[in-house]
């Protein structure tokens, strides 16, 4: 059961990053690719009908985590208190900026929310990347399974790190770049004309930079947490994951050069997916490792809920997910094709 729920939560987080990732990326990029008011309008429209549904994956993951691994939820959420609160404020600012921007037709109003949309999207990407890097690096858990991290200490990855250190900042930068490229490829799929060209122009060098920083991140991760390779050594088939990561970035570079936007976006989805799966494989069966003593790690066995709850949960979860996927198919079908400024549902 622990194995199943570990991967259920992992899959939900992957779905969140791949889906909300592109609308975060659009937020990071919109000043760069959209020059006129019309273009800005189109950019926001390209994510308008879907961003809220994408963000629901975050809430659903959070709820599922609470239910399946209460100890992890309690420990991680209170331990990363300040960072999480900042994330909540950023989520509020972002939702408001997407939705209220077009409410008044004055340049000051629009510029204000455009700026807020950029700042909140970029910071969220950085925080999410840093959060994952924190989990990989480990945190100073005590015997009760709790910890409390300040925002930063000495920027090193020792036994008493801060939420931000050189490694987690690296994670943040990777996330920022990866989601920006992800967003640009999405925009290339959803738009036409000058906007599409500028999105492609960002994606080409962006994907190369992403390849470079990804190559740096792999040894950095092994340096910070040497035992991340243990599962890979035991099951060498796991090394397919880093290979897939490199293949996916190469695919992004290749397809974006040939202006095959859909394939390039697909490669970007694959990249985000295998990066996260790679981390999950390395961590399993740990959920939150300790930065000092492996005996204090929060593992699946320590954190898992009781068997009855999990059995019942599996039934409603499968049913609920089938419904959720159905809704997504309906919405994305209604919203298919390029966005334009006309009337109606995104078209």
């Amino acid at each position: 059961m622990g194995f199943v729920w570990f991967w259920i939560v992992a899959v939900m987080i992957v779905a969140y990053v791949v889906l909300d990732g592109f609308d975060l990326g659009v937020g990071i990029l919109h000043f760069l690719v959209a020059r006129t008011e019309q273009e800005r309008h189109l950019v926001i429209r390209s994510i308008g009908p879907v961003w809220d549904g994408n963000e629901v994956w975050l809430l659903a993951s959070g709820g599922t985590l609470y239910f399946a691994f209460p100890l992890l939820y309690a420990s991680a959420f209170s331990g990363f208190y300040l960072a999480l609160m900042i994330v909540l404020w950023l989520l509020i600012m972002r939702g408001v900026s997407v939705e209220l921007r077009s409410h008044m037709d004055t340049p000051v109003w629009k510029s204000f929310f455009d700026g807020m949309f950029f700042v909140s999207s970029a910071l969220l990407a950085i925080f999410f990347g840093a959060a994952l890097a924190n989990v990989i690096r480990g945190v100073p858990l005590n015997a009760e399974g709790y910890f409390f991290l300040p925002l930063w200490t000495d920027w090193r990855t020792g036994a008493q790190p801060g939420i931000l250190d050189w490694y987690t900042v690296l994670g943040g930068v990777i996330a920022l770049l990866a989601l920006a490229v992800h967003g640009s490829l999405y925009l290339a799929v959803k738009t036409e004309g000058a906007l599409q060209l500028r999105a492609r122009e960002f994606a080409k060098p962006g994907a190369i930079a992403l390849l470079a920083i990804t190559i740096v991140s792999l040894p950095a991760t092994v340096f910070v947490r040497a035992d991340i390779l243990a599962n890979y050594r035991q099951y060498p088939v796991g090394f397919a994951v880093p290979v897939l990561v490199l293949l996916a970035v190469s695919g992004m570079i290749y397809f974006s050069r040939r202006s095959e936007d859909r394939k390039a976006f697909g490669a970007s989805c694959l990249y985000l997916c295998v990066m996260l799966v790679g981390a999950a494989v390395g961590l399993y069966p740990r959920l939150l490792p300790s930065s000092s003593d492996p005996g204090l790690d929060i593992t699946i066995a320590k954190a898992i809920s009781g068997p009855y709850a999990l059995r019942v949960g599996l039934i409603w979860w499968a049913f609920g997910m089938a419904l959720a996927i159905l809704y997504f198919v309906v919405v994305y079908r209604m919203f298919r094709g390029k966005v334009s400024l006309g009337d109606g549902y995104g078209h």
Binding site: G48, D52, Y66, A68, F77, S78, M85, H103, D343
Partner: protein, 453 residues
């Protein structure tokens, strides 16, 4: 400041602000479905135009409800981690189900409902409105199930390491407290929706603008208001009070200002509790009524605060007493107002009866106060327990989050919500100022999923 008190204020502030918005959207969603149904059945376009106008107000409220709702789910872990750790095996379930069954549904169909009217057939558009309503009421149900378990824990066992696990999924979902509380709460949401709708209708009539739409608002609002204001008192409020008296006697004793156990207990209609002397100052009381309301006979004995061990008294007592009295007083006023308005509507005189239109216009803040006071009664009444009889609130908060950090984020939320309030008021003012007639004629540009203008 003491960390426990700070975490309580943190949750109390963020939940109180948050619930100002869902109470309207849950009520309004139902009224919009009613309008869409009338439009579909009778072909009267004015009902479609009215639904479109209210959809805009719905959208702004929904947006603020969504963005202030996200922190609620996270705060169980951030500020109440000791509580979350032991109860995840029970209430993690309904909270996760809310995300899976409600939020996906709402987020998918709200966009279709708001912007799909031209693309969808009238029936399909009605269905999207219906699904938005369904999603919002499912969401309410799972939250109530969560809260009801904290008020009245059922269907659980304690694991050797002190964690709680659900033993019957069905038992958890059909907790009697949850069913009663859900009925009372949703009826309360419809009260807010209908009173706000009546208020805008009365405003337009008194302002001599949008008269035809205003009449639709008042017809739908007064009818729904009459039904919900009465069900709010009977049977839902009555059932809730009696169930509470049997299961949380300490809360009822403080709510009613009953300090000493007595036969033929009176009800205090007005008066100021004196906590130190354990008396009510300037009381206006009706003898035997409390016994009658709880046990059906004016002779029955009702447990007073004197029979409750001191360490199980709810705190703060005056707030609990006043919250309950404000709720009950306003609930009575709503029922009277709606009975009068409904009589005039029936006789065809409401639209010119300025002496009723004015109170209808001015009453829009009151259901928010009543709903908030009702929730304060429930939540303070449960104290000093976070899970009634099982876990004390003082054992639930995050002990590794210092009071300083808690204060910092509380102030952050206050600042952020102050800004949101200003934006909200400006936007809703603009929608009401523009009015339904203009909204019906043109479709203004829009970007996002939720808000159109």
């Amino acid at each position: 400041m003491d960390a426990l008190l700070l975490h309580r204020i943190h949750f109390g502030f963020t939940i109180t602000f948050h619930y100002l918005f869902p109470q309207l959207t849950m009520g309004l969603a139902l009224l919009i479905v009613v309008m869409k149904t009338i439009a579909l059945r009778t072909g009267q376009e004015i009902y479609n135009e009215s639904a479109r106008f209210w959809a805009k107000i719905f959208a702004v409220n929904f947006l603020i409800g969504v963005v202030t709702g996200i922190p609620m789910e996270f705060q169980f872990g951030t500020n109440w981690s000791q509580f979350a750790r032991v109860t995840g095996g029970v209430i993690g379930q309904p909270l996760a189900m809310e995300g899976v069954f409600s939020f996906f549904l709402e987020s998918a169909f709200l966009g279709l409902f708001l912007f799909g009217e031209k693309r969808l057939s009238p029936r399909a558009h009605w269905a999207s409105a219906f699904l938005v309503w369904l999603g919002s009421w499912i969401s309410g149900f799972f939250i109530i199930v969560t809260n009801a378990w904290m008020q009245h824990p059922v269907a659980y066992r304690v694991l050797p390491d002190g964690r709680y696990e659900v033993t019957s999924f069905w038992g958890l979902l059909t907790n009697p407290w949850a069913l009663i509380q859900y009925a009372h709460n949703m009826s309360g949401a419809v009260v807010t929706g209908s009173l706000v709708m009546c208020s805008v209708g009365a405003f337009y009539l008194l302002d001599n603008a949008n008269r035809e739409h205003a009449k639709v608002f008042l017809k739908v609002g007064v009818t729904a208001g009459l039904i919900s204001c009465i069900t709010q008192i009977f049977p839902t409020g009555d059932l809730h009070g009696r169930y509470m008296a049997r299961n949380q006697p300490a809360a009822v004793a403080v709510m009613e200002g009953l300090y000493r156990t007595q036969k033929g207990a009176p009800i205090v209609l007005m008066g100021q509790p004196d906590e130190e002397r354990q008396t009510i100052d300037n009381p206006l009381i009706a003898n035997g009524i409390l016994s009658f309301l709880i046990y059906g006979t004016t002779k029955a004995e009702v447990q007073g605060l004197d029979q409750i061990p001191r360490d199980q008294w709810p705190e703060p007592q005056p707030l609990l007493y006043y919250a309950y009295h404000v709720m009950a007083g306003l609930g009575t006023y709503f029922a009277l107002l709606m009975v009068v308005a409904a009589l005039l509507l029936w006789r065809g005189k409401l639209f010119t009866a300025r002496w009723v239109l004015w109170p209808l216009l001015l009453s829009f803040p009151l259901p928010y106060i009543a709903n908030t006071a009702g929730w304060m009664t429930a939540e303070i009444g449960r104290q000093p327990w976070i899970v009634y009889g099982l876990i004390r609130t003082s054992q639930g908060y995050s002990k590794y989050v210092s009071a300083g950090n808690g204060l910092f984020t509380l102030l952050g939320f206050m600042g952020m919500y102050a800004l949101l309030s200003v934006l909200f008021i400006v936007l809703v003012y603009r929608i009401i100022h523009t009015g339904p007639a203009v909204a019906a004629g043109q479709q203004a540009p829009h970007d996002g999923a939720l808000v159109t203008d």
